[in-house]
Amino acid sequence: MARFVTKRLYDVHSAVGLSFGLLLYAILLSGTIAVVAPQMTTWAVPEARVAPVQASVDAPMRDLAEVHDIRDHIVVVELPEPAKPSLRLWWSDETARHAIDVGLDGTPEPWSPGFGEFHRRLHTNLHIPGPFGRWLIGLAGVAMVVMLVTGLVADPRWRKDRLVLRPRRAVRTALADIHKRLGLWGLPFSMVMALTGALLGLLQLILVVGALAAFEGDQEAAVEAVVGERLDPAEVDADMAPIDPLIEDARRRLGHSPRQLLVYYYGDANARVEVSAFVDDLGERAAATYSLADGSFVRRTPVSPDVGVAITNGLIDLHYATFGGTVLRLIYFLLGVGGTAMAALGSSLWVLRRRKSRGTPAPGRMARLNAGIIAGMPLATAATVLVAPWIARDASTMATFTSLYFGIVVASLVGSMAWPGFFSSRRLWAATGWLLVAAVALDMVRMGAELPRSVSITPGLATSYGGIALVGIVVLGVLRASGRNDAATRHGSAAPGAAVDDSDPTDVDDS
C-alpha cells in the first residue's frame, strides 16, 4: 500500500512538474530578480547615484495638487531610503495608476516603469493583461505546493539521504541529488513562497466569494470591514497643514523611521495623513494619523487592526520581504536561486529520464525546448541588467525591456530547436555569465573618475556591482567545474562504476 501511494505521488509530481515546470521556472526566476530590484535602483537608474537626503513632502504635494485632481483620491508617498533615494508619490484613479518620482534636486518627473517594474510584472502577472495573469500565477503556486508535498512524500529515503551529493556519479544521479537536496533544505522557504504566492494570485477571486458569503451579500459592509471605517471627502476646500513636521512627530510617537504615508483627500477639509512605520522585525506596522486641516494628532493605530487585514499584510510582507532590509532581501535572493535551480533541474531530469527510456543519445525536441527556455531566460535577464543603466527612462522604457527580454527568449528557443549544436545550453549560460561581468565592467568604465565618489555615497551601488559580478563569476565557475567533471566521467577517472551507472537509486520509479 505504501509503495502504491509512493509510486502514485511520484507520478503526480512528474505530471504536475511536466505541466507547470517551465512556467514555475519563469515565475521563480523573475521573482528572484524582483526581490532585489529595489536594491538595484542605483544600478538601473544612474541619476539616483547620489546621497539620500531628507526630501520635503510638502512641496511636491502642493505641486501635485495644482496639476492633478487628487482631492478625491488617496496619494501614497514612499519615503526615500538608501537603496531608493528618490521620493515617490503615486495614486490610482478609475483609469490607471499614476506616479511621479521626486529627484534629489526636488524636481518632480513622471514615473517611468523600468527594470524593477518589468521583472515585478513578469513575476506577478507574466505581463498578461487583466486578472488572468494573476490567476495563472495563483494556479502555478498551487501546483508548486502540490509538487513540494508529493516530492517529499514520494522520496522514502529523504531522511537518510538528506546530506547525500554524488557529483562524480552519472549526470542524472548527480542532478537528481542536487534537485532533491535543494527541495529538502529549501522546503520551508519554498512552501511559504508557494502558499503566499498562490493566495496572493487567487486572493481577488476567493475574497470576493468569501466576503460576500460572510457578509451575506452586503458588499459595502465587506469593503468597510477590510479597509476600515471610510472617511469621505467633505467637499469643502481647506488650507493644508505642513506634512513634514507631522512626519517628525510620527517618528517620535512610533519610535521608528516612517516608511510610507497615505494622504487622504489633500485640499479637502476632511484631509488626513497616515504615517506608517515597521515597529518590529516581523513586519508589524504601526501608524500615526493626523488631520491635515489643522495638523492635529488623531490616533495611533496598529495598521493591522483585525485578522483579515493582518493576514493580507502578513502575506504581502512574507512574500515580498518588505519587513526587512538589504540583508533579508539577499537571503531571499539566495533562497530564490535555490528554488529556481530546483525547478530547472526537475525539468532537465525529466528530459534525461525520457531520453534514457527511449534509448536515444541525441537530445529530442523536448530536450531542446527545455534547454532553450531554461538557459534563454537567464540570458534575457542578464541582457536587461546590462542595458538598464544605459537606456533612457521614458514612456517607452517598458516596451524596450519587454521586446529585449522576450526577443532573446524566443531567439534562444528557436536557436536551440533549429541549431542545437550552436545554441547549446552551455553556450547560452556562458553568454549569461559574461554579460553580467561585462555589465559591471562597462558601467565602471562609463563612471570613470566619478566611480569612487558614487560608490562611497551610495552603498547600494557597491552592493549592485558586487552582486551582479559575483553572479556572473559563479555562473562561469559552475560551467567550468561541470565541464571538468564531465570530462573526468568520460575518461573514466570518476569513482569506480560511476560512468556506467546511470540509475538513480533514490528514484522510486527505478527501484
Partner: protein, 86 residues
C-alpha cells in the same frame, strides 16, 4: 495521469476548495471579516489536499466520485451553517 483524473483533481478540487471555504465561513463562531480571512487562508491547502486525494483514487472516474462525495458533504455543511445563521 488520465484526463478524468487530472480534471477531477484540478476542476473538482477547485470547487471542493471553494465549498470548503464557504463551509468554514458558515460555521466559524467569529466576526465576519475574520471568517473571510480564515476561509481564504484555507482555500489553497484545501485545493492541494483535493488534488492529492483525487490522484490517490484507484481510477479517474473514482476520483470524480470521491470529489463529488466531498462536495455534497461540504455544501450541506455550508448551507446548514448559513441557514442557522440567518
Amino acid at each position: 495521469m488520465s484526463r478524468a483524473r487530472a480534471s477531477a483533481a484540478i476542476v473538482g478540487g477547485f470547487f471542493n476548495a471553494m465549498a470548503g471555504m464557504l463551509a468554514l465561513i458558515a460555521v466559524l463562531p467569529v466576526a465576519a471579516i475574520d471568517r473571510t480571512a480564515y476561509g481564504a487562508l484555507l482555500f489553497v491547502p484545501l485545493w492541494v489536499g483535493m488534488i492529492i486525494t483525487a490522484c490517490l483514487a484507484p481510477g479517474g472516474w473514482a476520483a470524480w466520485r470521491r470529489q463529488l462525495g466531498v462536495f455534497v458533504v461540504l455544501t450541506l455543511v455550508a448551507v446548514t451553517g448559513f441557514f442557522l445563521r440567518s
